[in-house]
Symmetry: C2
């Protein structure tokens, strides 16, 4: 049985290491690039090299920003509400929230969620700077926008406790039925949460 040439196999392997990409997809991508896309392959290579080299974390909120700037777009924008902080797990959450165009405050990116099972403790994520920010004052609301999961709940609870002594409103994103979803297909926990969180129609 003839072996796959090493440079080809190396790329298949590198693609396979990405989440959600199995060996078959990795092969397909590799042979797509091999066929007639040297430019696409080199473009992707360059983007990968620049990803870390040309970015770092915003000094204020730990969101991703270009390496030539201290503050991210949001933190640099003086027109945003300076007294509201939305706490998220990852920079990607910032992007999806920004895409809604419905939030005009600042962010704080934790870069992880508490998870006793995986051994992720408060000091392993960017929690302390959030507490410090609130302690310095000037913050009226902290919106906890962690995922509605076990880890997201644990992290939200921890933050709530840590901030309990400060004069700040602590809220969490509403949980319930997703818009466009069907009751029939909602899981039990979502339904229970939708029931207990039911709101008066006005």
């Amino acid at each position: 049985m003839a072996r796959i040439p090493e440079p080809v196999q190396n790329l298949v392997d590198a693609f396979s290491r990405l989440p959600g990409i199995g060996p078959r997809t990795a092969s397909r991508l590799t042979f797509y690039l091999l066929k007639n896309n040297e430019a696409a392959a080199l473009q992707l290579a360059e983007a990968l090299e620049n990803l870390h080299a040309q970015t770092h974390l915003c000094r204020e909120c730990f969101n991703i920003t270009t390496a030539d700037r201290e503050l991210c777009d949001v933190c640099a924008d003086e027109k945003r509400d300076q007294d509201v902080i939305c706490v998220v797990e990852s920079p990607m959450d910032v992007i999806v929230l920004e895409q809604t165009d419905g939030y005009h405050g600042k962010y704080h990116v934790l870069h992880g969620l508490l998870s006793p099972i995986e051994g992720i403790n408060p000091e392993d994520i960017r929690l302390a700077p959030l507490i410090n920010k609130v302690a310095r004052g000037g913050i009226s609301e902290v919106i906890i926008a962690t995922n509605p999961s076990l880890e997201g709940d644990a992290t939200a609870l921890y933050i709530q406790q840590k901030l309990a002594d400060y004069d700040v409103r602590i809220t969490r994103l509403a949980r319930g039925l997703p818009i466009g979803g069907e009751l029939e297909y909602a899981d039990q926990n979502t339904l229970l949460r939708a029931l207990s969180g039911r709101q008066k129609m006005v």
Copy 2:
């Protein structure tokens, strides 16, 4: 609305250009690499750069081989049947056939299939070298292993006509029900082909 930093957006875009990777998957891959995988990102970048730089086509069969060699593994292997050529569309087809461990002849990679609709003519793919190889003699069988599709059929027919005057057996991979498949779910064309190609049980 805050914009995504350019180095991040560039990688999302580069991933999105790959087949089967939508903007959402592209974002997920990018943020996965961004989170804590600078090594993985650079490894992937290196593999992408080497893909074309360190490979070229085998002089004989046009399969992919490392740039430091003239012949691919199969063509260099004198123990393989020298008088049988299996004609495939792409180097990936060679790999899947090799993985069966059931074929011991040589290959010829066309790098495409005839497609009048897409304007792919005989001179656009590696057809002439195949005809020449057969014309030089010493080949007893040409197995056409193009896909069982419109283009695969057209290409097979064209090759058959071109080789009709030579003393060579021309065969094509059997088409019929896939092993483990169910009659109930087979499409009409496959069923018709399985019927017309039915074989005597021995």
